[in-house]
């Protein structure tokens, strides 16, 4: 048995639209080792959230395999999938939209326990809910509050408590701190790290914020228009960004210090449409180094050493 808890092979999701097929996720491959965090970064519309949803089968993939403990969960029937979902959970971005406004905090956290019929005894279930609230750093007195009475940070803690209710092994964190203020963001990030250590959790951390991803991830995959363009260990990626898109992305982040001078690579234009993408490298139209070959041949992800994967024809040549 491998140490990978999750492996995704040739994952594809195409959405039919009036103007053609929208390639939201186009042949994505990666694996995550148990107890580690994989960061998935990219700009809006690059398909990172779709990847997260595909893994939980909240959206069905068009093609590919999703191996959870070496077993393809795409082949599972409803009943088996419902059972497996205990171990695969997700925390959503917007804590304002992901909680039921008419359920109290207690009811929201108890819901997954009731759905999966974990406890027959009401008392035991109550104990578990209070325990989960404590784990997520929520005061017991908030049990009967409703979401509108809570600020964003506390709501996100409710989302985390819900996700942890069924003792999962694997969590998809879809922009869990993007809607929060910086001081609260740090509290939630620290909580996530602490929980990972205590419970041996594995995370897929989806975010557009490179500083946050760098802080929390062991490995990072950079997505552009439905494809992974670079994947490496966290340190390597920031030390030796090798894909022209990664380089531009890193240089675009404003640094909260006046002592660094970053040579900014300003990308021209916008992200092109993912509907019926033309062959060749998808980044070619905005790339500083684009050559003739880039417009015709799609580059494969190649290992440039130490598991550092880059999808570029001319990697290392500039």
């Amino acid at each position: 048995m491998s140490e990978n808890i999750l492996e995704v092979r040739h994952l594809k999701k195409y959405f039919p639209t009036k103007r053609g097929l929208l390639h939201a996720v186009d042949d994505v491959n990666f694996s995550i080792k148990k107890g580690t965090t994989m960061g998935l970064v990219g700009e809006s519309g690059c398909g990172k959230s779709t990847v997260g949803r595909l893994i939980l089968r909240l959206t069905e993939a068009t093609d590919g395999e999703i191996l959870f403990y070496d077993d393809d969960i795409r082949k599972y029937d409803r009943e088996k999938m419902r059972h497996t979902r205990r171990r695969l959970q997700i925390v959503f971005q917007d804590p304002y939209a992901s909680l039921d406004g008419r359920k109290s905090i207690f009811e929201s956290i108890a819901e997954p326990l009731q759905v999966q019929k974990i406890y027959q005894n009401k008392k035991e279930m109550e104990e578990k809910v209070y325990e989960l609230m404590a784990t997520a750093g929520l005061a017991r007195r908030l049990a009967n509050s409703y979401p509108h009475e809570l600020d964003g940070g506390r709501r996100q803690r409710v989302g985390i408590a819900r996700a942890l209710a069924l003792n999962p092994d694997f969590l998809v964190l879809d922009e869990p701190v993007s809607a929060l203020d910086v001081s609260i963001q740090a509290q939630v990030l620290n909580l996530m790290e602490q929980l990972q250590e205590q419970m041996g959790l594995t995370y897929l951390f989806i975010s557009h914020d490179l500083s946050v991803v760098k802080h929390i991830s062991d490995e990072i995959a950079v997505m552009y228009l439905g494809q992974i363009v670079e994947k490496a260990e966290c340190k390597d990626l920031f030390k030796y960004p090798s894909h022209p898109y990664t380089q531009a992305l890193l240089s675009a982040v404003p640094i909260p210090s006046i002592d660094y001078h970053v040579d900014r690579i300003v990308l021209e234009g916008d992200v092109p449409s993912p509907i019926n993408p033309s062959p060749g490298c998808r980044f070619a139209g905005r790339c500083r180094f684009c050559k003739e070959k880039c417009r015709h041949e799609t580059p494969e992800l190649k290992d440039i050493g130490n598991g550092h994967m880059v999808a570029c024809h001319f990697v290392g040549e500039f």
Binding site: N190, S211, H215, P256, D259, Y260, V266
Partner: protein, 322 residues
């Protein structure tokens, strides 16, 4: 500071929102100066009073519930709070203009972008012909990097970054002396944010426009601002030039802000969050408003609201233990 070089000076501004659930102390005894041609960063978290402050400058606060209780907003030597509606309307868009956070909702979806820019120009220059105004609008679009032949397009035909450029073009169409930008890049992706910041920096250099930039991102402050004011619960807790703020942050809240953000350039460190939450603005703590969250708070902090002290030339800090 030399009085004559200040384009904008806010003195003892207090703004409350009077609601049935209580009075929200949004901005309290706020003092702020902006030298001509400079950019001031207004930093703080949600509910700190940043947007209320700039809306008070523009006088676009909704009344009720907002009430400006005390203060002066001196712009080019005149108190804007004493102006009547008609003269304020002449200043807005002409001398002071504002860029809002969300480019998706600040454009009219059923009017072409060219016409929307034209509207500002014609409103402030009654003599200009329609044709000239349109030409000017096209020039403004070119200036922000959008081809003039797109002037006849509607907002939905543009991407988020381009919409924000259209708004910048509109804001600068009358060559204002003061540009207020309220989180202009928050809704944009980083690479698009980089484009917009670059553009704003270029335009600022070209037209010598003074600017107030509201942001929660210290990275953007480092990049674009000359002066920084840090707001917390309706008050400015620290004010100084960029050097002072970034090299010698002195208020515990400012220090806390720096400690809790991950920095891309530095090696792995643990984040030190600021404990607790921003206080409820209808029920603010006594004494220093930051004391319940402050690691250095003493007995005295809960009793006395500290006055702002100048700890070095132009660097003001509102803390008892400085």
């Amino acid at each position: 500071m030399n009085e004559h070089t200040n384009l904008l000076e806010i003195k003892d501004l207090t703004v409350h929102y009077v609601t049935v659930d209580g009075t929200v102390h949004a901005v309290e005894n706020l003092n702020l100066t902006l030298p001509e041609g400079k950019t001031l960063g207004l930093v703080g978290e949600t509910g700190a009073g940043k947007t209320t402050t700039v809306k008070a400058i523009m006088q676009i606060l909704p009344d009720p519930p907002a009430k400006i209780l005390t203060g002066e907003v001196i712009f080019c030597g005149e108190d804007l709070l004493k102006k009547n509606k008609k003269s304020m309307r002449k200043i807005r868009g002409k001398q002071i203009s504002m860029i809002f956070q969300d480019p998706m909702t600040s454009l009219n979806p059923v009017i072409t972008v060219g016409e929307q820019i034209m509207e500002v120009i014609r409103l402030h220059d009654k003599k200009i012909s329609k044709k000239d105004a349109y030409t000017k609008a096209c020039e403004m679009l070119e200036l922000v990097g959008i081809k003039a032949d797109r002037a006849g397009d509607y907002p939905h035909q543009f991407s988020g970054g381009m919409k924000q450029r259209v708004i910048i073009a509109m804001a600068l169409a009358c060559n204002p002396r003061l540009l207020i930008a309220d989180e202009p890049t928050t809704a944009l992706d980083v690479t698009i944010q980089a484009q917009v910041l670059e553009l704003m920096r270029k335009l600022k250099a070209k037209y010598q426009t003074s600017m107030i930039m509201i942001t929660h991102d210290l990275g953007i402050v480092a990049e674009i601002c000359d002066y920084v004011a840090v707001m917390y619960a309706g008050e400015i807790v620290e004010y100084g030039n960029r050097e002072q703020l970034f090299h010698r942050p002195s208020h515990p809240y400012t220090k806390g802000l720096f400690a809790c953000i991950p920095n891309l350039m530095e090696e792995e460190t643990t984040l030190i969050p600021i404990e607790g939450m921003t206080p409820d603005p209808t029920n603010l703590p006594t004494g220093c408003r930051f004391h319940p969250r402050c690691p250095y708070a003493t007995e005295e902090c809960s009793k006395t609201n500290p006055a702002s002290k100048e700890i070095e030339n132009g660097h003001h800090v509102k803390c008892l233990h400085i």
